[in-house]
């Protein structure tokens, strides 16, 4: 019974978000055009880069390394932003109080609000890689879809913990969220989106191991470019799982606590 109600609530949020997205059709077309131009830019840039030995484990093609890293790096971006952004949109639109006056739990709202963003981003990533293969010769013939799916699921679970924490900050402080700030800046340097972490000095390399994006990108590249089965990615999957198991409950607790602070202070709908 509870599961059925939860499913109806998730479905209601997903359907609403799809309808809202559909009402902004031009934005979707422009996003895709932007992805194509970005791919073209990195395709030409990759021609200038000499292959270091560390690239061999990913197939030795820098454009492929970049295309996959940039595409799947989007999961980190949306994980950090989607929860806080959807809450802020509800605050600005004035719908947040009405939603919180319904029987839906705050956790359901925060998780449900991310469903369409993850689904939409997955579609964009597939189109992104499709364009890279069609127009710029990205070789996806070795891709192991099952492994890729496992990595995506674990990445979302691990990264969303940080996104929910970020939303908790937004509920209380409205603006100024240190979680997003730290991850957005540090991940670009240490996460391995633009280059393999093997090129980093030992100290920075050990720091990069503390970021879930490092393990997620390594695993997804090995799954998509080298076709690794799930068993050979078990180390990365376990690390991502540990992040999720420890951080998700903490972040959901923090979010519930933040909502209660806003209910106490009367600032739930302020932005």
């Amino acid at each position: 019974m509870i599961t059925a109600v939860l499913a109806r609530q998730f479905w209601a949020i997903l359907k609403k978000d799809v309808l809202l997205e559909y009402s902004y059709r031009l934005q979707f077309v422009l996003n895709l055009a932007g992805v194509f131009l970005e791919l073209a830019m990195f395709f030409f840039l990759a021609k200038l880069v000499k292959m270091p030995a560390s690239m061999e484990q990913y197939g030795g093609n820098y454009f492929a390394f970049l295309a996959v890293g940039l595409a799947f790096g989007q999961y980190q971006w949306i994980s950090l932003h989607t929860f806080a952004q959807s809450l802020r949109e509800q605050q600005v639109m004035g719908t947040l109080e009405m939603i919180f006056a319904s029987p839906m739990r705050p956790e359901t709202l925060i998780v449900g609000s991310s469903l369409w963003t993850y689904l939409f981003e997955t579609i964009v990533i597939v189109l992104n890689l499709g364009m890279a293969a069609l127009f710029f010769g990205l070789d996806l013939s070795n891709a192991n879809l099952l492994s890729a799916l496992a990595v995506i699921v674990m990445t979302i679970l691990a990264m969303s913990a940080f996104g929910v924490l970020s939303a908790a900050f937004i509920v209380v402080f409205k603006r100024g969220d240190p979680v997003t700030w730290v991850f957005a800046t540090v991940s670009g340097l240490l996460g391995g989106i633009y280059y393999p972490i093997e090129v980093l000095p030992p100290f920075l390399k050990s720091l990069s191991a503390l970021l879930p994006i490092t393990h997620a990108l390594k695993a997804i590249r090995l799954a998509v470019l080298k076709g690794y089965p799930v068993q050979r990615l078990s180390t990365e999957l376990i690390v991502l799982g540990v992040f999720a198991v420890f951080l998700l409950p903490v972040s959901l607790f923090a979010f519930r606590r933040a909502v209660n602070i806003a209910r106490r202070d009367g600032t739930l709908s302020q932005y």
Binding site: L20, S102, N260
Partner: protein, 338 residues
């Protein structure tokens, strides 16, 4: 004994003016706490409509938001259908519906139907239930023709009707209506309040908390009225009791002399309250107008008060008996004429 659907016991809400002691210390400012609701107690039975009135800033919306679980009370207790609002907000929300006059609480790029389907889903209703209830509510509120148009194309009145439909969608046992007729034309407002009184409260036995600024509406719809002033209860009773206050013996007495020293004189007749009444134009700046109200059942007469004023050195220039309207009584209770 039937459990009241809504129960408030000594409910208080204080908003902290400063986030932290450190901030107050650094800015060298005293605490600026605001007591929005002070010691409010009442109970609403099944099928009863309690009207809540008061000037802006009286604490009406804060009170409703506490009962809707959107705010946590500072002290006191409140329960909906026996469930404590602070301890079990989730269970409380299963039994309530909140209708507000705020038209911003919708997705303007979606149609009215899509908005209602979304909120119906949040209540956990099945698709078939949502569809049937939307059709039924749209027909009773006269919005069938606009349901599939985008919300941003609606008139203010039609947006309010969709807000009302949303509040009635989950058929909750307790309804909180925060100025639901604010944007409705008189005919639509009357039609809605009739639905609330005859169908929702009388036939279906649901309890309603009805916040309104329209006195005539409150007198016509509510079983009891709570008038709030500065967060406190200034009156709680039946509409007939509120109207009875208007038939009290009240005189406006124009006098010449020093009222301040005269008012301090002992021997004021028991049962009378006398206060300064502000008039917009005073013919003689030495003349002032007093309002004397004889409390119900008191034995004193007008003659007694005139004698008392004369003993205080005041010269009575004119006396007029007043029949106060409901609006004047309301203004007195809420302090609007001070």
């Amino acid at each position: 004994m039937i459990e009241p659907r809504i129960r408030c016991e000594h409910l208080n809400k204080v908003f902290s003016g400063s986030r932290s002691r450190a901030a107050r210390f650094l800015l060298n400012r005293p605490p600026t706490d605001v007591q929005a609701v002070r010691d409010i107690s009442f109970a609403v039975e099944p099928g009863e409509i309690l009207g809540i009135m008061g000037p802006n800033g009286a604490g009406k919306t804060t009170l409703v938001k506490m009962l809707c679980t959107l705010l946590i009370p500072t002290s006191g207790a409140a329960s909906i259908c026996g469930v404590d609002v602070a301890r079990h907000p989730g269970r409380v929300r299963e039994n309530i519906a909140f209708i507000t006059g705020d038209e911003r609480s919708f997705y303007w790029r979606l149609t009215g139907r899509q908005n209602l389907q979304f909120f119906g889903g949040l209540f956990g209703l099945k698709q078939g239930q949502i569809r049937d209830r939307i059709e039924k509510l749209a027909a009773s509120l006269g919005v069938e023709d606009i349901l599939d148009r985008r919300f941003d194309s609606y008139s203010t009145g039609n947006r309010q009707k969709i807000a009302i439909a949303r509040g009635l969608l989950n058929e909750a046992g307790v309804l909180f209506l925060d100025e639901p007729t604010r944007s409705l034309d008189p005919t639509s407002a009357l039609s809605f309040t009739t639905i609330v009184r005859d169908q929702i409260a009388r036939d279906q036995g649901r309890s309603v908390l009805f916040v309104t600024h329209r006195l005539e509406e409150a007198l016509g719809v509510c079983d009891r009225i709570l008038i709030m002033r500065n967060g406190e209860s200034a009156f709680l009773g039946k509409p007939s009791e509120l109207q009875a206050l208007g038939s009290q013996d009240v005189w406006r007495i124009q006098v010449r002399g020093d009222w301040e020293s005269a008012s301090a004189l002992p021997g004021r007749p028991a049962g009378f309250t006398v206060s300064l009444y502000h008039t917009p134009d005073i013919p003689d700046k030495n003349e002032i107008t007093l309002q004397a109200t004889l409390q119900a059942g008191a034995a004193a007469s007008l003659g007694d008060i005139v004698c008392w004023l004369a003993a205080g050195g005041l010269q009575v220039v004119d006396v007029a008996r007043m029949q106060r309207t409901g609006g004047e009584v309301f203004a007195e209770l809420t302090g609007a004429d001070e």
